[in-house]
């Protein structure tokens, strides 16, 4: 899949998880989403099944589902925390996950319960290297 990854975009201010999720950490909060690679592999997203606000999520565990026409995919939490907001705009326009995975296609915002976990995530160079393997 190396040619695929070179087409994708991966902002360098994000932290990445091996399961193709990203986190934009801002103090004790973070915005989470799926990477360009993840949305491209999945195809056109037609449904986002979000967790509830107030739910706790656990690093490396599934916290939501995104579905394309053909497949359903678990979304893995890159960090642990409590959901403070979900992207409601995706209910009517789930395709934003494909069109703008790091912007309007964000999935949830969390209050981090273990902010130090961010240290264990990949930087953009490491994530790209993983995709090229």
């Amino acid at each position: 899949m190396a040619p695929e990854s070179s087409e994708g975009t991966y902002p360098d201010d994000l932290r990445y998880h091996e399961e193709h999720d990203w986190a934009r950490v801002d103090g004790d909060q973070a915005t989470l989403g799926i990477t360009w690679y993840a949305q491209d592999s999945l195809g056109e997203v037609v449904f986002f099944d979000p967790p509830e606000v107030g739910a706790t999520i656990q690093k490396d565990s599934s916290y939501a589902e995104v579905e394309s026409v053909k497949a359903v995919s678990d979304v893995i939490a890159p960090l642990s925390g409590e959901i403070v907001e979900v992207n409601d705009a995706l209910q009517d326009a789930p395709e934003k996950v494909n069109e703008d995975p790091y912007g309007e296609g964000w999935l949830v915002k969390v209050r981090l319960t273990a902010p130090e976990e961010a240290e264990t995530l990949l930087g953009v160079q490491e994530y790209r290297k993983m995709l090229d393997r």
């Binding site: 195809g43 037609v46 099944d49 579905e67 053909k70 359903v72």
Partner: protein, 356 residues
């Protein structure tokens, strides 16, 4: 295995997946786009992975009448007919179209995953008949061109006269003999072309130039599901008879085909389960294997055989086997989608009907 068009798929940026041992395109630009191209204009599918079996000889008709569920004697030269291939218990080995190419010559098109099984079964059953069963899958590349404009575009771009629906014609395509069949698997008008593999690449290119949209197996599945065409391996299996699958219309038990006693019994006595179509009411996308529950209850009454997001209806939809007494159109059910109950309603088939 690869079809003669494999390189073309890669050049168009297709996502390629394994399907019954074949490296096939699942989508090029996106399933929804390809789906709607077929509903509104014309799309083409490389279906060269499908198998072809020729049956020839003075006993060809008698033999096919014995193995195919439909009344093969009704098919004139140049005709096409849908059938199921049953085992002795009435279970469905495969579903297929048979085309009558000449007086004593028929072509049967098999599903890729069942080709070898069908071939072995047909070979074994043909022994007592004066008919030769030949694997001719290597002789053909197969293109399905489907959609309201498919016939016009194919006729113009390739300069061929196409047979009417459910007919087959010997034609020349790319200056080689070919077969044009008025059949398909999308619920739209269109043709299936059986080509000399040597000309598959230039013909694909000509159709692309003519504006036909390349479509992958993803759209093929959503299109067939919306019109409730069964897929072998999902709705049809050797453990299910054609009656419970709603295919009683293509079974003529009086012809005495293998499995006809079991099919007649199922028709007379009814079956414990029936294949139904359903639509989700609200959110959620059903998938194969999801349990079907009685509306508002904890009792499982069936299971989903195929489920998807329907691009035309823009809702989750699918087919399922449910207990016959609860299989009535309009019945409220729930689909257990990975632990979440999604309200749904049994709908009439097809789920999608062309607005005229």
């Amino acid at each position: 295995m690869r079809t003669p068009l494999y390189e073309q798929h890669l050049a168009l940026g297709a996502k390629v997946v394994d399907f019954a041992g074949w490296e096939m395109p699942v989508t090029y630009e996106g399933i929804r786009e390809e789906h709607s191209a077929v509903r509104r204009h014309a799309g083409m599918f490389d279906v060269s992975h499908m198998g072809q079996v020729e049956v020839e000889g003075p006993g060809a008709l008698a033999f096919l009448q014995r193995v195919l569920s439909n009344d093969v004697a009704k098919v004139h030269v140049g005709g096409a007919q849908y059938s199921v291939l049953c085992n002795e218990d009435g279970g469905v080995i495969d579903d297929l179209f048979a085309y009558r190419l000449g007086g004593d010559r028929y072509l049967v098109v098999t599903n890729a995953a069942n080709h070898e099984t069908d071939l072995a079964w047909l070979g074994r059953q043909s022994r007592e008949f004066d008919a030769l069963v030949r694997d001719v899958a290597d002789r053909y590349a197969m293109l399905a061109v489907q959609g309201p404009h498919a016939r016009d575009v194919v006729a113009r771009a390739l300069g061929v006269e196409l047979p009417p629906r459910f007919h087959v014609a010997h034609v020349q395509i790319g200056r080689r003999p070919a077969l044009a069949c008025g059949t398909g698997y999308t619920g739209e008008d269109g043709v299936e072309l059986l080509l000399d593999p040597e000309v598959a690449v230039p013909i694909w290119a000509e159709l692309l130039d003519a504006g036909v949209v390349p479509c992958g197996l993803g759209a093929r599945d959503t299109l067939r599901l919306e019109v409730c065409y069964p897929l072998h391996g999902n709705e049809l299996t050797p453990e299910r008879n054609p009656i419970e699958a709603g295919l009683g219309w293509c079974c003529k038990e009086e012809t005495g085909f293998i499995g006809s006693e079991a099919v007649a019994r199922a028709r007379a006595e009814g079956t414990a389960e029936k294949l139904v179509a359903f639509e989700i009411e609200g959110q959620g996308i059903p998938r194969e294997g999801n349990p079907v529950m009685r509306g508002g209850g904890d009792e499982q009454i069936g299971a989903v055989t195929s489920g998807t997001f329907s691009p035309s209806l823009e809702v989750g939809a699918g087919m399922a086997y449910v207990r016959s007494e609860l299989a009535e159109v309009g019945t409220s059910i729930e689909i257990d989608v990975r632990g979440k109950r999604r309200p749904a309603r049994i709908a009439s088939k097809p789920l999608y009907a062309k607005r005229s």
